[in-house]
């Protein structure tokens, strides 16, 4: 048995349980911390995967309940779970079906507890083509990852994976940024190309957004370089870069790996803020199977 603690969040998706089996075989964790969101709407869907999780892990499992409607309570639960079980350990975070809030809270606590931290992401085998979640709450800043706001400075909202127009609407409506910078998933897939062109047109017309770029969400290093490079550019007529003159709000709407990139940006530039949109309604049939895996390490 290794010295690795696996962090995961219970989900109804197939890739959750298939990913857990793979992680157990490949990493042989000494302990698995399973965070369970209390959500009556999805509780039943998760029963099957939960039963399998229990039989797979038995005594090596620690279950922690969290409530997305109580962010301050969640903060302290994560703090306690990591300080009790993860201090100085090797941590593997399976971000595949985690919320951004849980990803960032896990990474934050890994840093706090001096953990050697790796992450793993399993793409699903396919998508149903439908929506994944709806009924968003008000966008929020993460506690302690909310940056250092400058007085009198305008806001720049940076979003990775901006195809979700409705969520974009919600972010822009709530944060009222002066500038918005969007990063779209690149690739030769016709779906991505079509989405990129369509979204560009729509966003230009609707919000007059001019700062739109393509990036590879699954390559966190090149994404990091590209995003930081764009933030370090100067705005027309301004002697300072976006990074210097704006209060920057980061938000990840696309692939979960982009949440890793944004966390790395926050680590390097702690005056930027990480934000997320809580959701209350999910689509059970959003994805199926398990596909490619992406792994990486976080250097604090």
């Amino acid at each position: 048995m290794s010295n690795t603690v696996l962090i995961t969040v219970l989900s109804w998706e197939e890739r959750y349980i298939l990913g857990l089996e793979k992680n157990i075989n490949a990493f042989n964790p000494s302990l698995v911390i399973l965070f369970k969101y209390l959500n009556p709407l999805t509780a039943e869907w998760k029963i099957g995967n939960y039963t399998k999780t229990q039989s797979l892990l038995q005594s090596n499992l620690i279950e922690v309940e969290i409530d997305s409607s109580k962010p301050s309570e969640t903060w302290f639960i994560f703090l306690k779970a990591f300080s009790n079980h993860c201090k100085g350990k090797n941590i593997l975070i399976d971000i595949s079906t985690m919320t951004r809030e849980a990803i960032w809270l896990s990474l934050y606590n890994c840093r706090l507890n001096g953990c050697k931290t790796d992450y793993i992401y399993y793409k699903p085998k396919g998508y149903s083509g439908e929506w994944i979640s709806r009924d968003p709450g008000k966008p929020r800043f993460l506690y302690k990852m909310s940056g250092i706001a400058k007085l009198g400075a305008p806001s720049l909202l940076l979003i990775t994976g901006g195809y979700d127009i409705q969520r974009l609407d919600s972010l822009i409506y709530n944060f009222e940024p002066k500038q918005t910078m969007l990063f779209f998933q690149n690739g030769e897939e016709p779906r991505n190309k079509e989405n990129f062109n369509l979204s560009q047109e729509l966003l230009r017309a609707k919000y007059n957004i001019g700062l739109m770029y393509e990036y590879d969400a699954y390559d966190t290093d090149s994404s990091f370089d590209l995003i930081v490079d764009k933030l370090k550019q100067r705005e027309n007529g301004n002697s300072e870069s976006y990074l210097e003159s704006y209060n920057i709000i980061l938000n990840s709407l696309g692939a979960k790996t982009s949440a890793i990139t944004l966390f790395n940006i926050w680590l390097k530039h702690p005056h930027v803020a990480l934000s997320y949109i809580p959701s209350k309604e999910y689509n059970k049939e959003y994805s199926f199977g398990i596909g490619d895996e992406y792994t990486g390490s976080i250097t604090f």
Partner: protein, 586 residues
């Protein structure tokens, strides 16, 4: 902010994105209460997005007023200085105070950041005042700051620039402390009384500013946390307002608390006045009608268009105008017969025509005809539902369409002049935008509005469908006594359970946040108290063939009918609807 020439006279950018000169040129002071802002009273400006709250506050800020004085070639009057404080800075989205387990400490931390934002904007304004004091006076003020507030400022930097830097540093230090300490607090917190009031006292020793009253223009105060709102209310309750007052813009949909930090309340009339920026009347003779005309005509003029009259720029379809006149005459003749020989003959005739003439036009259109034609300035003003952004929104798209057509024809012309918007284009845009708004109800509510489930979105859609149907039936029915009543109130709340009432309240909240419903207070005839009148966004009406020009009436709908309409798509029973004439809006 740099000024760029707009490409469309009806740009409806957020107020903060306007260049100073544009904002000064476009702002209309008449026919609203915006001059109240310059008074020494505390004022709450209430209204939904787009009704001009930010524009009003920004217009009264020092930066805009001094530029205005410069443009008008007059000396600036230093007796009033407006300090604009937006609550949309990311500082106000930080939530670490929720991690502090001691409510008092959480309130101190929350007030600290709010006070720093105010102090920073105050000294930014003061640093932009030229020659406010001599070098000697600056040294004297710096000594005072050191003595009273223990703030040690460098000698080689002008006092207010140095103070701005000091606040920036303090702000950064405290955020760092909060982010990196276990307790999430800071030992460097300041308060309004420990920082802003002493600074104001020191500033008042400057000759140029000795009689100045500072107007703190707090925008988007609904984004403040509960501790900050209580702190703000406490400052408003402060008895001596000779040196400063607060003008606070808040969204109507989110209930504002008027409780102070000590638990008491501030009272309207005593501690503050309220200005409702949404206007109940939109006809051409109302304050809003006149204001809207001023806004539009000023934009036409500033844009350099030859046509400066809103009525001429947005002409009514002549055929519709002719038919309207025809039915007005028919109704007038009928009224003359009915009231022949009676007292108040002229008034009775005019009331009858007012009530039924337009309805007759809608009723007598061929059953095979498409939707009615919508055009004309009066229609556009009524479509706005009393909200400035709603007024500019269709105009923007109409202008773009007309301009595109002309520029296609006159490709070589350097100066393309739009003389007017042809009625067919007005009609097309109005119907397109109306359809879009229905689409928003159907597809977007659960995505865009905080705490709106898909179930609630469907219920709201059902209710609006049934409401439109009700209004349509009333418009078309010859038996309707108030056929163009397009607002409603809710009656018999006691007939539904508490949880059903709560559900109805949530639908109303979501609808208001989505700007598809507005509300006004009115005196209730039955009980003499206040009653809420609900006004659907009139842009919804063209898609359903309704008249956007309503009459001073409301339809009273029982809560049970609303509940059934929303949850089961059940028709609202026309027979159970009562009408009350409404000439008593406030």
């Amino acid at each position: 902010m740099s000024s760029k020439k707009p490409t469309n006279p009806f740009e409806y950018e957020a107020a903060v994105n306007f260049a100073t000169d544009e904002l000064i040129e476009y702002f209309v002071e008449d026919h609203n209460y915006s001059r109240f802002i310059q008074s020494g009273r505390n004022i709450f400006i209430v209204g939904e997005r787009g009704c001009g709250k930010s524009m009003t506050l920004l217009y009264n800020s020092f930066q805009k007023q001094i530029r205005k004085a410069e443009v008008e070639k007059r000396n600036f009057d230093y007796s009033r200085i407006g300090v604009y404080v937006p609550c949309t800075n990311t500082l106000f989205f930080k939530k670490e105070s929720e991690l502090v387990n001691n409510p008092f400490k959480a309130s101190v931390l929350s007030e600290h950041f709010f006070v720093l934002a105010i102090a920073y904007e105050l000294v930014s304004v003061l640093s932009s005042i030229e020659n406010s004091c001599s070098k000697e006076k600056e040294q004297e003020l710096k000594s005072e700051l050191n003595y009273i507030l223990n703030i040690d400022l460098p000698e080689d930097i002008p006092i207010f620039k140095a103070l701005a830097r000091y606040f920036q540093k303090l702000n950064s230090e405290t955020q760092n402390q909060v982010n990196n300490s276990e307790e999430s607090t800071s030992d460097k917190c300041v308060s309004f009384y420990s920082l802003v009031i002493p600074i104001l006292q020191i500033v008042k020793s400057i000759e140029k500013l000795k009689d100045t009253h500072f107007l703190f223009l707090i925008d988007d105060a609904h984004d403040l946390n509960s501790h900050q709102i209580k702190a703000l209310n406490s400052w408003i309750a402060y008895r001596d307002h000779s040196d400063f007052s607060f003008k606070v813009a808040i969204a109507k949909v989110r209930k504002h608390s008027y409780i102070t930090s000590s638990g008491s309340s501030i009272l309207e009339g005593h501690d503050f006045l309220t200005i409702d920026m949404e206007k109940p009347y939109q006809n051409k003779f109302s304050d809003f009608g006149l204001w809207a005309k001023d806004i539009l005509e000023r934009r036409l003029e500033k844009f350099g268009l030859e046509t400066k009259d809103a009525n001429k720029f947005f002409p009514t379809n002549p055929k519709v105008e002719e038919e309207m006149k025809y039915w007005e005459n028919v109704v007038r003749n009928k009224a003359q017969e009915i009231y022949k020989g009676q007292d108040n003959y002229a008034k009775k005739i005019s009331d009858f025509v007012y009530k039924y003439a337009r309805a007759e036009y809608f009723r007598n259109r061929s059953s095979k005809a498409n939707l009615p034609q919508y055009s004309g300035w009066d229609t556009i003003v009524n479509l706005s539902t009393g909200v400035v952004r709603n007024l500019l929104y269709p105009c923007y798209w109409m202008y773009d369409k007309e301009y595109s057509t002309i520029s296609d024809k006159e490709k070589d012309s350097k100066e393309i002049q739009v003389q007017f918007i042809r009625p067919a284009y007005q009609d097309e845009i109005i119907k397109d935008k109306s359809k879009e708004l229905w689409g928003k109800i159907e597809n977007d509510l659960f995505n865009n509005i905080d705490n709106c489930s898909t179930k609630q979105a469907t219920q709201i859609k059902n209710f609006f469908e049934q409401l439109a149907l009700l209004f349509k039936e009333r418009l078309m029915s010859p038996e309707s006594s108030e056929p163009r009543a397009i607002t409603f109130s809710i009656s018999a709340r006691q007939e539904v359970s508490e949880s059903q009432n709560n559900e109805i309240d949530e639908w109303l909240r979501i609808s208001k946040e989505a700007l598809i419903l507005y509300d006004r207070k009115s005196s209730s005839k039955e009980f003499g108290g206040k009653e809420t009148i609900y006004v659907p966004n009139r842009l919804l009406f063209p898609d359903r063939g309704l008249d956007v020009i309503g009459q001073h009436s409301r339809v009273s709908i029982r809560a049970a009918e609303i509940y059934e309409a929303a949850t089961k798509g059940k028709k609202i029973n026309n027979k159970e609807v009562s009408q009350q004439t409404l000439f008593d809006y406030e």
